[in-house]
Symmetry: D2
Subunit: 437 residues, 4 copies
């Protein structure tokens, strides 16, 4: 039995273990920077398998995290994690939202292969309908308002399956494996800090991907080469003014709502760009305390996007200037906070071709009829890929195809669990190939 066959065997034999693990993660869903229970269990498993494990500030400097919830919420989440069965030994290192885990396997000289698996859930209320499978089979989220509606429970599970399979072929590997379990992908908040910590430096090959809905009448289980997605920045802007009685002395106030509203309108007036698509949206605006009080605080939640990193930068620069000018306009101040960011995905065709070939020829998997897959939305894995590519390495973002009960971010989302086994075969098979030399 060669290495590829061994990997396949491990993957197949892990099927039940993986399904159970995925359902456990699903039931105790944790959203960005709250993945404390999840991180502790991943760290324990990696440790048990024999991986060198990084946690807490070794994964990401706290100040490089974006869109971190407030202290009180983090502490409540920590208590919940402990109560819901977090591993006591490891969970302490996640306190304060220092989530995420990296497992390292050193196998002497050879290339470094890094993989990214994201682990966070979403702020979605899971369906409680009887025919929603997680409900029917008892693994629907018990954390009300938090749900794995984007398959990251599957991604984390595949990552641990890969860890196990690679350990089984350890002797045939040359070089270093880095398995990155990333927090806070939703809202594109977590990847950049891990890049800043240096974990994507000196990487020769980088593999990542996302569970996606398969095409009808297409037996394909993966697309090796995925690209696209708009670059984006997410901001919160809070305007501070001064309250006053609207009848008696409106002149004593500083109207934060006027600043916010003129910002909303003028942001739309960022010129369309001759070089490609751009986007701007203020999705939420909360302002004021009472009808007869000059509004003294207004909060905007907004995002910009661009077809390229440059177009997104263009939007960011204009948006930040406009947000500030709108404050000055009505004698208010504004706090602008970057809550997340991503750049477009760009897979290396050569690596994609190589991974495809291994999966088809060595692992016996069928490729989707489409050669490439254009992503919509945004994915902060893009920062990891960019760093690898800048330094001469190759990177791909793949699509792992399976059945799906409903679209991503939907409260009835659920995916066919067969993808867990396929996923392990693809990642681990590719890694074996890349590290055989």
């Amino acid at each position: 039995m060669n290495g590829y066959e061994l990997i396949a065997k491990v993957a197949e034999e892990s099927r039940e273990e993986m399904v159970a693990r995925r359902r456990d993660y699903h039931k105790y869903a944790e959203s960005g920077w709250f993945e404390m229970r999840t991180s502790s269990l991943i760290a324990r498993e990696l440790t048990n398998l024999g991986y060198e494990v990084l946690m807490g500030e070794d994964v990401c400097n706290p100040e490089d995290r974006m869109g971190v919830p407030d202290e009180k919420e983090l502490e409540e989440s920590y208590e919940r994690a402990v109560a819901q069965g977090a591993d006591p030994e490891f969970v302490v290192r996640t306190r304060g939202g220092k989530t995420g885990v990296i497992g390292i396997l050193r196998c002497g000289e050879g290339p470094t292969v890094a993989m990214r698996f994201d682990i966070d859930a979403l702020g979605v209320y899971e369906s409680d309908e009887a025919d929603h499978k997680p409900m029917a089979e008892g693994f629907a989220s018990v954390n009300y308002g938090t749900m794995h509606a984007c398959g990251h429970d599957g991604h984390a599970t595949i990552g641990l399956g890969v860890a196990k399979a690679l350990m089984a072929v350890k002797d045939q590997l040359h070089g270093t494996v880095r398995l990155i379990f990333q927090p806070g992908e939703e809202g594109v908040r977590g990847a950049k800090g891990i890049v800043m910590k240096g974990h994507l430096d000196n990487v020769d090959y980088f593999l990542s991907g996302h569970i996606s809905k398969h095409q009808a009448d297409d037996p394909g289980v993966f697309v090796a080469n995925s690209y696209g997605a708009l670059a984006t920045c997410k901001y919160d802007a809070v305007y501070h003014g001064f309250a006053a009685h609207a009848g008696g002395s409106p002149n004593s106030g500083k109207n934060a709502m006027l600043s916010a509203c003129t910002a909303v309108l003028n942001l739309q007036a960022i010129p369309r760009h001759g070089g490609g698509a751009t986007r701007i949206n203020v999705g939420r605006l909360i302002a004021g305390s009472g009808r007869n009080v000059i509004c003294d605080e207004a909060k905007l939640e907004l995002e910009v996007r661009g077809a390229t990193a440059e177009l997104n930068d263009y939007m960011c620069q204009h948006a930040e200037r406009i947000l500030k000018a709108a404050a000055a306009m009505h004698d208010c101040t504004v706090d602008i906070k970057l809550m997340g960011s991503a750049i477009p995905l760009k897979s290396d065709a050569e690596l994609a071709e190589r991974v495809r070939k291994v999966a088809e020829e060595k692992m016996g998997l069928v490729h989707d009829k489409r050669d490439t897959f254009k992503s919509s939305g945004s994915e902060d894995c893009s920062y990891m890929m960019q760093r690898v590519q800048e330094q001469g390495g190759q990177a791909i973002f793949m699509r792992l195809m399976t059945t799906m009960a409903a679209g991503g971010h939907n409260r009835r989302y659920d995916f066919g669990e067969k993808v867990l086994v396929d996923g392990v075969k693809i990642y681990a098979g590719a890694t074996l190939d890349l590290m055989s030399e």
Copy 2:
């Protein structure tokens, strides 16, 4: 002992009873259209005293109420009222927010004298500091977030004291007494409906007033002639658009936030009026569901004011047109709802003078050094006064001066309870004078 002396005696002897009643109302504070416990207790007392009592739809047609909370809140409030000791016999008539009570005393031929006492609390979180007297003496509000921070607990108590005192001099009265206990004065929501029901028709004399802070070094306990206050209209405007993904197809959305923001800015551009002061304020704006979703709903809470009813009408007409045009601007729709309104106060000097004289000469009370008192803010008692004056009657709005721990609407508000006795003397003394003929 003449009638005036008898009134004074009853007032003095009721001091403790009134203090206890005021503190009970304070403890179980109920805001506009929720005054169910309060109404039931007022109705019971009036009935016990021998008054003819009107409640529910006999006080105000439900559809003439403005700014009524939703059904669910009304029902919860009803349950709370029952749990907190509402009178079971009377409280049923208030279910659904049909609050307010009118007590009538018929004494044969003679003028009709109406009085208005408002009974609702505010949406204020009462201070829990140990030196806040209601806290120290155990009558701070147990209804979290609701507080009698404007003295209406005192007004209601004075009203019942007047009812008792007048009953004591019933034989000397000629004509009809109408004691109106009005709900929903805060937000100027309740008076107009009572006027529309006809309770201010055929009134010869109308007395009303408000507890106010006395001046340092001024022994005066009342001002008979108060005027002013701006006319006002309060609106809620809800914009409805259509949600869409802000990255994928912003063009499929209809952006309710853009309608709301352009409304906010353009409302400010209603021309200043050459004929006098006007005001416009959007005090609250809540819009949108998520950062990356085109906003499909936005709610504005706004108000306009004018130095006269005409100036206020001018503002209303412009505001309504602008609110609608802002909807059309971004292909949205808007629901505009009038949530409250008031006109300026105008006291009749002749009646004020007569009441002053009675209070000074017959009741032995000292008038404030100021002949008149200019009110700020808005007061919907103005509608009652206007109706009386239109039909040839006379009306006044008085100020009852006392010590005060903090300003109106402040969480540390509290007033010197001596005003309860003074108040009964003024109202009841004046009524005796007016009905002696």
Copy 3:
């Protein structure tokens, strides 16, 4: 014949001379900073009468003038003045818009009495209808688009009549006379600079006024005490951006029109003031060069007003901040230029009463039935009065009543010339009284 009788005689005998002079000024109307021909003729007359004469930079430092036209226009205007009969000796000192004249008469010890006569015309196209008297009698403006439609031709004429009358009673005067012929009153541009030059320092009494329409059935020919008029500031704001092709690369542009438009809207949102009336108006907006070019220049002409100098300052501060923030909003720059300003008029009642008495008792003139006259509009004479009053002097602004063919600023404006004689009597009579001591 006493001094008052002598003044009356001179005034009556000057009637034809004054009518001719007024019509000459009317025919060769010159607007603000263009009053070169007019200034030269005034200077010649004052010189001939024996006055000490100040012109050019002795009247006002060039940099203290507001709203000065550009060099080219000033030069064209100078050439026109010369061609239309300016006095060659004096006109040279007005070149470059250094208009205005001051005549001084020193009569030993005694109070200083200053008078202000404004001399500029308006940018109005005079009626060419046959029944418009200046047309019918051949003195309609030959300077197309410039017209004395506010009576300053009369003011200047009265000023010279006063100069002549006072010279006739010189022996009876004690103190100093200052006759100020002010340029650029329209647009409130000229007074402040003359004040800054010190010409209103150490003035004991200050007289000024305006020709106004008499009341039907009121034989009165003057009101000694006029007050009111809003404080105001006039601004020009020019936004500079960067042009770009609107189809090809709108992103390369900086859109000055967007800055201008957001300024216009946000200026309206300066909070109404609890302390009194305020005004804001952008009266003109000129922006852009072509339909398909991103606008690179936009000019606003605006004004603010306030019932008091403080309210006007409040508006100025807000307006200037908003104008600048609007530039920053779209990455443009803005040049803001103060084009004129005035404060409210406030006449001293004591001086008004004294002047009234002299006019009635010594000059035989009938006072208007109104004791005081409230002015609307703005008048920069207010700055002169303020300086005098600050230093302990007294100042009045009078109304000289006469018939009027149409309202001020109308193209059919014309006034009954009898006011010229009355005006001389009032000013000169009052001066004699003030300087007799």
Copy 4:
């Protein structure tokens, strides 16, 4: 000598005549709907050559013209045309802006070949620098502010050269030739009306093109297949309000400037479209009469664009709605007028290939190294091409390459006149080929 050789000979021999004609048109440049002199001379030449000639309302119904200047300007232009040597016989038919000429040559059975040559100049001030060739050689525009800065003088000249050449090979032609000399291409105002008149119905082949700058080191003199250009609509929107004194009674006004400014801002907020590029620009805004007057009229000149006709329609619908809502916002009215429109160019590859082959093989001309040429800007020839293509015909838009002194629309624009001869060869050669069958 075959037909192609004959055409080449006629073209070469017409060189001087064409240069002279082009320079004459250049010198007496006429912009859109003013091309009266030009039209008269074209009509005379076509008549002399033996063409059937259509003018005036036979070319386009007056009401189908877009962006027509006002009557007064049209009349002044007519007088100028007459004064500058228009042909008296033909110019009368252009009076009132009914410009444009169609020449028809009927040669029995066979296909209909239509060609379009645009004839209008631009509102550009031609350079008067000595080294600007038209200046140096005496043919710079004598119509100040109007200049052939886009080569339409060359297009018109080529059209007449084609007319002459085709007449020389008339015996070899089968079918019908339609030579369309179109007015008002600048601002995309003239083509649509000609299409509406039916002149593009039943056309089998349609040829058109534009003089363009050749590439350095590319000997090619033409590109047969040009495409692209954004769809566009041009609008004028005039807001009507009501004037009032900004100090005295701003409330009596209806502020057209506020409507205009809120329109400008909200137009920018038309959502970016997920389906492709869109553009919006308000290029000019003229509003108001005086600083202290509430603005009663404001004019916007704007345009929208889209990568496809559908995207442009999307922009038009939103823009029109917003323009109207902005009027309603401030109680004003608005007149919206479509001033021009175009759709994207789409050349038929088959026809382009055929034309290229004839030009290369029969006329000996070298094709540009680029197979296709992407146009920017907008071109209303697109409407003609669309009509031909809808009815089953084929259409191309070509590029005629030559040297250029400066870019299009620049005041130093000038082109190498060799293109006149090449142009005749290409058009006439292609026509002979298409009509030889």
